[in-house]
Symmetry: D2
């Protein structure tokens, strides 16, 4: 059934369809007293915004967020969270007036068209309706609030692989990530992808991608046995993003190919602070569902969008055979725009776990 | 914090430590009138039971389940669920009286020893306490109940890979799965693994594994936008199992390396029933978080157990450098015993989604 | 902490402050295919709207609701729910530009001013902020949707008592309820209250009230053991309404004064349908947390609003002694405007229980 | 549907039927490091235990609780909570082997017999099965743990009224409460009740009662807007107890009969600590759903048990007219044994709110 709320204590609920009047989120459980204005959210939305290069969909949305509740300007002139629900809204602007009759009548394979109809018997088919990636804008907005809840944590995501072409870890340069349209930390790979993605775009084809995300500064102890494990929550968060088909924590599937010796994460006494030092981080910063104090790392697989120019066999709502192809604007590689969304979900999971930890353990 | 309940409508809550007097689960939300005795649960526990071959830990637990509530023998002499909570309990028997002082004082790297202490400042260190894989017995018990809630679904899991050695899909034979100690569907691979795992066992080493799971008979429409997506719930369920580091739905990370054309799942009119026919199932039976009617498939990566004979650097509770190694009984490949657990979690997720779907959509 | 969501399967989340730009609710879990336009919601809001007589606050809000998501116009031209979250919004219009400096500095006794500050250290003090009864408009809107989920149920609330002056059960006439500004079913009482409430208004005083609510058509079987009992959910729902201090189911506190014989609800075979006939309904239609098939009845006590003209001792934010009194528009009897809110909460509880029952029991 | 978990962060789940092998509770979310043995729980159970006077049911249950998980003996020799789920179990002993065929075939009016059948089509009829007040033993056990989570709070409940005969507030003496079989703080009333209840017992009749509960030491700030309000949670908690038909916070229904002036709770600067002083406590220590720092008070109405000697009209499972009466052991006034249960639910609500507050607000 419909379950549009994420989180247990720090929670957000999203609403809205791709071509409705607006989309929004209600963030509940946020601690009070946090300085928050629209300027704290907008930059993260701008990073995700479509239409910024030829490598993402040409739909142009200003994605201007408004805060409708949950903040108040105190006597110091600073607008702060009051501890009550924060309502965020973005008006939809560029709902191009187009003819959706083909989408209304025939199911786009790989999209949620058929399954929404199978479930609900009825759907808003304009632009994918509720299943549109447009919903992820509100995740990014909620994530911007979440970041302020856990300011000690820094989160960084990037594209590690497009269409099977991987970055070279030896060439990893965090400074590069914002310098190219692919959130790519390897300048050489970024150059190769330029052609790769452009070719796909021109051919009306699409490419998959792998996004990696690292959260630094997560204190040892956040997380939870057993069904709110930090890795379990991250897996749910990432797998709930449109087009995601796989999630790994730490070495992920590679760990399944290692021996116990090769996969060991030896510990050493801390040279300074409390947390021990680790010689490796195969575990991705999580053991038994709880943070070790090392960087929390995950990898997320995005499939190539199913919107392609090549006609694909499908059926109509009435069950008749037909074919469908996608013309016009689309994302040749949806994984690229997934980067800010992955970061946002990481932030939301960590904010929630931070508050859950504080509830039970007091710190 | 502590969150030992899984599920939204069909829910189970587990309790118990490896070396406490017992472990248990409370299954809540189960529909009434389902015939259920201990004999419906025991066979699934027997499949998971340790000590059945030299390839799994030699701890010997009868794992005899008792149903303490939630069932009643009606006038037809059949014991059935009453719709009230089903309490399941297994007494711990083989808590070998051993000296845990080394585990009490030093953290086993890769285990949850350090993180539980970091979180709670205090832990039951005997046999891993609450973080022991022993807890998974109760998942299997809950899963046995869940299967009865969705009898139209058949679930099959098997080991697809140990230590990097994969089965040959061409040699897949479901009949083989129960014929070898590895739940391996490829007789040749099973033979190779015999030596592979035995060598690891003798060397006090350990191996990772990949488990695949297929659920057939899941009707199109089960599942949910957006934060209780079927794939999102499966990812959380699988990632909550001890030693799991990665989850894939359908083609998973491979999909990230395909083009949109290669990844397409064309649809054709059904030759008979309602659901359309699909030419491929890259999506693993899920689109937009909702079942397509095809087999629901996932892959789960188990790391090699961190309990190995080779001494590994670690620290004591007081932060002093030391080394630790694991002697005595252990699992050379924990992934093997993960097979019944993966099946159980699949069953629990599907039972929950079936009831959630019925709540909103009436069928 | 902040928990702005009500319900388990049919859920709504409200947001917004009295003097913010807008208030809203997100209704999630609503079944698909239900015909729903703003015209289905507006009449219920109009019933609750302030400023309709001199007996309620003179704040004038058009309370025009907009549906921002979750509905779609099908091929039959009817707008229907799609099963996705329904976002409802009302713009605040009449936030009279007034000087709130006294409220900002001193706590109004009986209001949530002090407690919000004690909890959050910070609050939107304009018009009560989040604790304003204005929030109840969104409950009425959510309740309007809930009514459509359980169309077999008819819900009727009315004021049974103001300032200790009760209606005469012998003079109960449902047709009267909409004919006077008090939702009073007893024409004589309504006449008495006219003077009673007007006197209080002129004196800047306030009066408490008791609201009764009856839901007919609730099928036997809805409800739940043990912590989502129908009566338990109703109690929570009603007690969450501003100014409510007591809730009774059926005979309530009177039952505590009866003998078992006098309180008995004998059953007789049904003359026609399935459910038995009952000779009395002391239980208010609920036994063991589950509906009996009789009318579900509850009584709700509203305190007199604490906003009165008489100065009351209080303290400033700095802990200094002062006095405060309320000038200007206010409700002399907040219980009157509670009637549509009580009905709405009854509808929401029943819709939730209907879906929960269907989840577990299939009907 | 079945929802056997209470609480949001500090949660407990109960299981078990009156005549099954055992009853139990799983307490989850409890902070770690709290000293806890069975001796901390048993005294509270002993207070509730049936068969202690002729004024309560003669069923004799030792109600010996066992802790099966969630605690561990540390190096200081003290057994403490580990932060993992605490499993509590009580074996049923005195399930008198009696003939239940009359209860199996005919519905006892006022009990949950008919409604469970209407809901589930099937029930464990022995001794009320799941709907038996026996379940409340586990609430008392969970409450004993909850008390340790909020040691700053002291909770006191007592019977204020039986069969309409009230205590005299002027004669209130807390020291009396444990000195008579009625938990009565007024020695004179206790004497009167002796005859009152004994007469009812001999006549096979039953009496209702009102229980009052006061929690002192609840800090200002605990509680929550809007749907986890402290009063709303208390109302749900109390109304979920067997036989409860009404809940009041503070002055409750009496407040509905007061003017705003009479109901005012003026505040004065604190003479010492942080919280202000209040001249009255009509509000029962809660404003806007949040604690004011004053004593939190509530009143709970228990109906007379429906188990009486007088035959009452009812129907059989097949819908035929019949009569039923209750012979043998029963409670002439179930409200008496409700006292420890009311205290326990108060403790559980406060423990939950304390942790929720800490989650959001850090203290």
């Amino acid at each position: 059934m419909s379950w549009n709320t994420f989180g247990r204590v720090f929670r957000f609920t999203t609403w809205g369809e791709s071509h409705g009047p607006a989309i929004g989120a209600v963030v509940d459980g946020c601690p009070p007293g946090i300085a928050l204005t629209e300027d704290d959210i907008q930059p993260w939305l701008d990073r995700r915004k479509p239409g910024q290069s030829k490598f993402t969909t040409q739909r142009r949305e200003p994605d201007q967020v408004r805060i409708l509740s949950g903040v108040f300007e105190g006597q110091d002139g600073k607008q702060r969270t009051t501890g009550t629900p924060i309502s965020l809204m973005i008006k939809n602007v560029d709902q191009r007036s187009k003819d959706y009759s083909n989408v209304a009548q025939a199911y786009r394979p790989g999209h949620a068209d058929y399954t929404y109809d199978a479930k609900y018997g009825f759907r808003d088919f304009r632009g994918g309706g509720r299943s549109s990636a447009r919903e992820t804008a509100m995740r990014v907005a909620a994530g911007a609030v979440a970041r302020l809840v856990v300011p000690q944590v820094s989160i960084l995501a990037y594209v590690a692989e497009i269409g099977g072409d991987r970055i070279d870890p030896a060439k990893f340069d965090a400074g590069q990530i914002g310098q190219n349209p692919f959130w790519c930390p390897d300048a050489d790979a970024a150059q190769r992808w330029e052609k790769l993605v452009d070719d796909a775009r021109k051919a009306g084809s699409s490419l998959g991608a792998v996004v990696e995300c690292v959260a630094r500064g997560v204190p040892a102890g956040w997380g939870a046995p057993l069904y709110a494990k930090l890795d379990s929550e991250l897996a749910a968060a990432m797998m709930s993003i449109n087009a995601v088909k796989g999630v790994e924590i730490g070495d992920g599937f590679d760990a399944a190919r290692l021996s116990g010796e090769a996969n060991a994460d030896p510990m050493r006494p801390s040279s300074g602070g409390d947390a021990p030092e680790f010689a490796a981080n195969h575990a991705g910063g999580i053991a038994g569902g709880i943070a070790t104090g090392q960087p929390v790392t995950c990898r997320v697989a995005f499939k190539p969008t199913s919107s392609i120019l090549t006609p694909v066999d499908t059926i109509t709502r009435d069950g008749q055979a037909t074919q469908i192809s996608t013309r016009g604007r689309h994302d040749p590689c949806v994984g690229i725009r997934g980067v800010p969304v992955v970061e946002a979900m990481m932030a939301c999971v960590l904010a929630d776990q931070a508050l859950l930890h504080r509830a039970q353990c007091g710190t």
